[in-house]
């Protein structure tokens, strides 16, 4: 009987002790490069699932619609891939309104990093410009345009069809140079017409961009509510149409945005 007196509390304690907790003591890591050994596997369950999806896309998306005469790169402050997009938009915008001053596109709106030299498929343009964003023309006064360009400079540069240079200080405050000169580029792949102007805060400039940015996207709140002209044309369709008309694309990697820290350059 004496045993029982000790035994029950012991059982009780055992019951409490059943719950075991764990604490992490060490870690190890690895990363795997995912590389296809057999790209056309249609045997596995996932391969079987994907096949009809892939097949229904392949006819339109694998069609070659153009040719890159050289490599296009997405880069900051400027790169040939961004230059290509804004130049095509600029041409389209000028057809809609000859007063269009420039085209600006957000860096994050380009969704692939490069187009290699060679054939270009329709699918590649979908990958570059997957969003169903529309080309819009917005009326921006010189003050807001300066703010916009500073925002662009601060983020390291966006695709622009115009040229501008900035000085910045150690706190990354960007100032348009006093004698800022805008050089309008009409046609990035063939020629450019140079028209030097200084930005005037009282003048209204007509800028071509996408509706995502015009609606304040990528932290461009200052563009919200500006007077705008909708074009009803998707950015991607504008590029696809341009390639149907002129399939050869020529890379232009001219640096259109110049960011310099005068203290560092001295």
């Amino acid at each position: 009987m004496k045993i029982n007196n000790y035994f029950f509390p012991f059982l009780f304690l055992l019951g409490l002790g059943c719950k075991v907790y764990y604490q992490p003591t060490s870690s190890a890591q690895q990363k795997y490069e995912v590389k296809a050994s057999n790209q056309l596997d249609t045997i596995s369950d996932i391969g079987k699932l994907l096949k009809p999806y892939r097949d229904s896309l392949s006819f339109t998306m694998n069609a070659v619609i153009g040719y890159a005469t050289g490599k296009f790169e997405k880069a900051k402050p400027s790169g040939s891939l961004g230059n290509l997009v804004v130049d095509i938009l600029m041409q389209q915008a000028r057809k809609i309104d000859t007063n269009t001053y420039g085209a600006i596109y957000n860096y994050g709106g380009l969704r692939i990093n490069q187009i290699p030299e060679g054939d270009i498929t329709r699918g590649k343009i979908f990958e570059l410009l997957p969003f169903d964003n529309e080309l819009v023309l917005i009326e921006v006064n010189g003050k807001i345009l300066t703010q916009w360009l500073q925002h662009i400079a601060k983020s390291g540069g966006w695709p622009v069809s115009i040229e501008c240079s900035f000085y910045y200080d150690s706190l990354y405050n960007f100032q348009l140079q006093n004698d800022t000169i805008f050089i309008e580029r009409e046609n990035g792949d063939v020629e450019m017409s140079i028209n030097r102007r200084t930005l005037d805060s009282n003048i209204t400039y007509l800028i071509a961009t996408n509706d995502y940015i015009a609606n304040g996207g990528d932290n461009c709140d200052f563009l919200k509510g500006l007077k705008r002209k909708s074009t009803g044309k998707l950015i991607r369709d504008i590029v696809l149409d341009r390639m149907m008309f002129k399939p050869n694309l020529y890379p232009d990697d001219y640096q259109r945005i110049i960011l310099q820290n005068p203290l560092q350059s001295k």
Binding site: P24, T25, S27, Y32, E33, A36, L57
Partner: protein, 320 residues
């Protein structure tokens, strides 16, 4: 670890640890009785596999001379994942958002094959990225029916939207004897996602909410390990909230698996939280080019420890 290790289909766990440890310069092999982990029931091991910003890349990049040609693709990912599942039991597979948008698959099928494939790969949980709202709240809600795994987010309020009750702040998953709390944090949608796409979703402070949930998972749910799936981004030049800032200001979070900035980290970033305990942050680029793996080794203890002393037994770094 700087070099990329090709998938090792038949590697055993000891070899894996040794290789990872040596190449990462993190563990001096022999300092820890690692072999004991496998034998003793007092030890537990968790293998965490993760992706982020896959952006509808179901197929590998085409062989067209571009930088990532031949890389990615769910079939190759499946092979790696299944070989890991064959070699070890307690595996978690997680994604940190931006599943959608980037290939014609999404333009044409609105995300259905992405969700189906992730379900077949047996993802355990995912969080939402900004591009997962590219077809609006309804567009996302429509595709969630094809996912057999939970989506977690704790700093978006979905009340009175189509997503109400479809996204949970957290999920708890048991693997073997381990209880793992997994929650999600999302990036500020205002200014990033068009207003009409995120509609009535209210954004709340991710750090406050993360700490609240982590505390809850730790104190109330008594989780052994707490993982934050984040789409905040790894780091920014300014003081915009990021995984690095979240980690520094956090408590109880062990691991942050991030996304958004498409950051290819050579190795997981290790930092300290506000209680000076270690937090691991990892991100594996984008497009499913990489699959991340983190193994966590656990020791048991009789009492639940309300204040983690993870740092007290932190693995020593070796310079040799």
């Amino acid at each position: 670890m700087n070099q990329i290790i090709q998938p090792m289909y038949s590697v055993n766990r000891r070899k894996f640890i040794r290789q990872s440890a040596m190449s990462a310069g993190l563990l001096a092999v022999g300092q820890l009785p690692l072999d004991a982990f496998a034998k003793s029931t007092n030890k537990q091991e968790l293998t965490i596999l993760h992706t982020n910003d896959v952006h509808s890349r179901l197929d590998p990049f085409p062989m067209d001379g571009s930088k990532f040609q031949g890389m990615g693709g769910v079939l190759a990912r499946e092979k790696i994942i299944s070989s890991i599942r064959n070699e070890t039991e307690q595996v978690l597979l997680l994604d940190s958002g931006d599943i959608f948008q980037g290939t014609p698959y999404f333009n044409k099928f609105q995300g259905k094959p992405e969700m189906q494939v992730m379900s077949m790969l047996k993802y355990d949980a995912a969080t939402l990225g900004n591009h997962d709202f590219d077809n609006g709240i309804e567009g996302l809600a429509n595709q969630l029916v094809h996912a057999n795994f939970p989506f977690v987010n704790c700093n978006y309020d979905f009340t009175n939207t189509e997503l109400e009750n479809k996204i949970e702040p957290y999920t708890i998953i048991k693997k073997g004897k381990l209880k793992i709390g997994i929650f999600g944090v999302g990036i500020e949608l205002q200014g990033l996602v068009p207003d009409k796409l995120f509609g009535n979703i209210q954004y709340h402070n991710p750090i406050e909410n993360a700490n609240k949930i982590a505390y809850f998972l730790k104190q109330k749910k008594r989780c052994d390990y707490i993982i934050c799936l984040s789409h905040l981004g790894f780091e920014y030049k300014d003081n915009k909230v990021s995984d690095k800032i979240l980690a520094k200001e956090s408590e109880h979070i062990h691991l942050i698996l991030g996304g958004h900035t498409h950051t290819f980290l050579d190795e997981p970033h290790k930092t300290k939280n506000r209680k000076n305990q270690e937090v691991i942050i990892n991100q594996v680029g984008w497009a499913g080019i990489m699959l991340g793996r983190i193994n966590i080794y656990f020791d048991n203890k009789e009492d639940y420890d309300y204040v983690s002393n993870f740092t007290a037994i932190e693995v020593k770094e070796t310079s040799a």
